[in-house]
Amino acid sequence: MKIQNWLKGLVLATAISVPAWSAPPSFAATPDDILVVANRIDDIISLDPQEMFEFAGTDYANNVYDSLVSFDPKDLSKGYEPSLAESWTISEDGKTFTFTIREGVKFHSGNDLTAHDAEFSLRRAVGLNKTPSFILTQFGFTPDNMESTIKATDDRTLVVVTDKKYAPSFVLNCFTSAISYIVDSKEVKSHEKDGDWGNEWLRTNSAGSGAYSLVSWKPNESYTLNANPDYWRAKPAMKRVIVRHIQESATQRLLLEKGDVDVARNLSPEDIAGISGNSDLAVDEDLRGRIMYISMNQKDPILSKPQVIEALKYLVDYKGMEGAFLKGQWKVHQAFLPLTYMGELKDQPFSFDVEKAKGLLSEAGYPDGFDVEIIVRDAQERVEIAQSLQNTFAQAGINVSLIQGTGKQILGKYRARDFQIYLGAWGPDYPDPHTNADTFASNPDNADEAQHLGKLAWRNAWAIPELTAMTEAAVQETDNAKRAQMYVDIQKEHQKVSPFAEMFQKNEQTGRRANVSGFVTGSAVTAVYYWTVTK
């Protein structure tokens, strides 16, 4: 009896407490002037633009900082255009760039933005020597010469001198990337410690002039931005932007459907399909810069045979994968430059053809195939691609063992040239064709000791003096049309002979509330813009 009474009490208590749980007020939708974004932001290691090199970090910086040269978010295909530099001239020898800085721009701190800030920021990039510094130091800037090669001659004039003549488009494209963002020199200098260029402070704070200023950053949790009402381009419609780290696609979808977030950036193909019939929601597609590829280590006696390399390119079921599990997240693409880049190549010479592959393998002396290992990061879509390759390679007698590991494990093997076939993705470092040409089609020294770790051609032990020379010539060509054609030629040759089988280009699918418009994810060339968003 007593226990029954107690049970009754328990049921009653539960009944009373359920409405209490549901009592709190909840917003049906986000306010009209606040943008809430669900995104994976756990790759943000630093908020310092001269240090960051990750996607989520660049998204942040693209809204908090400005550069001398940038893109028009409303038409990214136009290429670079004036930004904080309202104009520039280039000397006859092609080495001296003189920028005129826009007047009247202020930092969030209220300080005026001058050529001295630009000088400080570019020198800072060189002096800090963090991972992305090479984007600028490839023009010959060093800590020793930067005082003469990067110089503000007055408040509005910045003179930059490169070590040799480069294609102007190459230099200016590099000046659009995050490493070249202009920081508030007075603010940053005031937080300098032991000659660290204010890096320790700027890793968790902001000192920009962009459309938004940083309110708070909680690592792996969220960051919040407030609009800069005096932004020189336009007054942002969204007064506040909150980006929340939501790891799971299903969770992002639920939040989007409920209206608790306006944009969900990491929806899986299943969740994209799930929301497609919902009239309150919309899906945007945007081709990004990442290229998914496999590459064959040329130290391997079997994989270095040209017929084997070609055979493997015919053993990839490009269309099958695109139509099956990749479901719109990756599009078939068989060249190393992403579509939308200068010199893009749309040719797709390879298709899944087992008979052709078998013929090539016989020519190479492997009519019954061989055993091989593919190393791959334990990310779902990569493992699925690897499994597809395992299946299609087997049809020509090639027995594949999949070696899975964390990103760092697999990368360690790749960089140490300790693998047979690598499956992975590569994203461009800056919006110029040289970025990928330099890594996929250039290898000035193939020796182990050369340690050209940033070059994929070196990682695959692929010696290519001719292609290296072609790449070097293209980066110096001043005529843009000629330059574009040179990259087309390099890619055609690369498609034919390289140990790389480029398979797909990333297609980003973003879920958003139907009332949100102007959310630009940046295509292959840049990052997200929040100031263009309206509701």
């Binding site: 226990i3 009592a23 917003f27 290691i45 792996n220 780290h245 939040l255 459907e257």
Partner: protein
């Protein structure tokens, strides 16, 4: 003389022995805590160093040149012998400095202070839920051994124990948040309430009450109730099974028969006498279950976007952020040691024989 001297010594011994005994006991406890911690740190350190993950790459990224890579390698002190690295690390730990997290660019101690309260809050509410429901269910199951009540409770517990939390969490979100709208969504608060309450304890439920922000308190309740119920469901299943088995053992004891013969009510026999004697082993079970939850439940934290210790430690581990891993390990180790000591203390409160 001899006799007198002997008596004096004996008296002195008798007089000082309880104090000495206590001191000795305290020293033993302290030494065992230090030994456990150092052992724990050494094993974690060793695992961290032999793991096939390159901590330098985690910092400099895939594109780093050899010069940038080498500079980071040296700055981490990885060129020094292992034992020297461990020595330096121990020295830092005992001065409360876990170094800077490579992933968040902040001191690890600051990170832990930020993420641990989220886990503590979740685990505490979950444990309250588990104990409030688990103990009575265990008692009922034992009293009705083999009957439908017992079977029903067993089934209920088994379901909680065997369902993957990933699935259960998503279903819970879909039903209670997505369809019914009874609870808040993922995260600790609606985004609009973020940063509105001054951080005192880091536990939003507590901080919002201190600040007198009742709306925010209710919002936090609506967010915590689902993940806490799910985690609580897991500990409930465990606690109820253990309570049942402890109770069954007690209910066959002679003192229970005596109590019944004396005419005590069934309620008093079960809830006061039998349950009272079950409390000691039960406290250990509850403490262990609580400690497990305090380590952080990674999957629950991921699904519910709950920025707690579990997620922090896992991300750190997968990225070879060894400072963060070590810091987290020390905290988890201290939790286990602390809860063990606390349950020892509770034994003495509950059972005079243990004093």
């Amino acid at each position: 003389m001899n006799n007198a001297a002997g008596t004096a010594t004996q008296k002195r011994r008798e007089g000082s022995s309880p104090l000495l005994k206590r001191l000795r006991g305290l020293t033993t406890v302290l030494l065992s805590i230090i030994a456990t911690l150092v052992g724990l740190l050494f094993i974690t350190f060793l695992i961290g160093r032999v793991m096939p993950i390159d901590p330098v790459l985690a910092i400099v990224g895939e594109r780093a040149s050899k010069e940038v890579y080498d500079a980071a390698y040296l700055s981490l002190g990885l060129d020094k012998p292992l034992i020297v690295q461990f020595g330096v690390f121990l020295q830092q730990v005992f001065t409360g400095d876990f170094g800077i997290s490579r992933l968040t660019a902040r001191p690890v101690s600051d990170d832990i202070i930020r993420v641990f309260p989220a886990t503590l809050e979740l685990a505490s509410v979950a444990t309250v839920f588990g104990v409030l429901f688990g103990v009575p269910m265990g008692v009922i199951a034992a009293v009705h051994q083999g009957k439908w009540q017992d079977q029903l409770i067993r089934l209920f517990g088994l379901f909680g124990y065997s369902m993957p939390i990933f699935w259960l969490g998503l279903m819970g979100l879909l039903i209670f948040y997505g369809i019914l709208g009874w609870v808040g969504g993922p995260g600790r608060l609606d985004v609009f309430y973020d940063d509105l309450v001054p951080v005192i304890t880091g536990m939003i439920l507590v901080d919002s009450l201190i600040a007198g922000e009742i709306d925010i308190f209710w919002n936090a309740v609506s967010h915590i109730i689902l993940p806490a119920s799910l985690l609580g469901y897991y500990s409930l299943a465990y606690i109820s099974r253990m309570t049942r088995s402890f109770m069954l053992e007690q209910l066959t004891q002679e003192y229970i028969i005596t109590a019944r013969v004396k005419g005590l009510s069934e309620h008093a026999v079960i809830w006061r006498h039998a349950l009272g004697n079950v409390m000691i082993p039960l406290i250990t079970v509850i403490a262990l279950s609580y400690a497990n939850l305090l380590e952080g439940s990674v999957l629950t934290e991921v699904i519910f976007a709950w920025p707690g210790l579990g997620q922090y430690l896992t991300t750190a581990l997968l990225s070879a952020d060894m400072n963060a891993v070590m810091g987290g390990t020390v905290v988890v180790g201290l939790i286990f040691i602390g809860l063990n000591l606390f349950s020892d203390f509770l034994y003495k409160v509950v059972d005079p024989r243990a004093r």
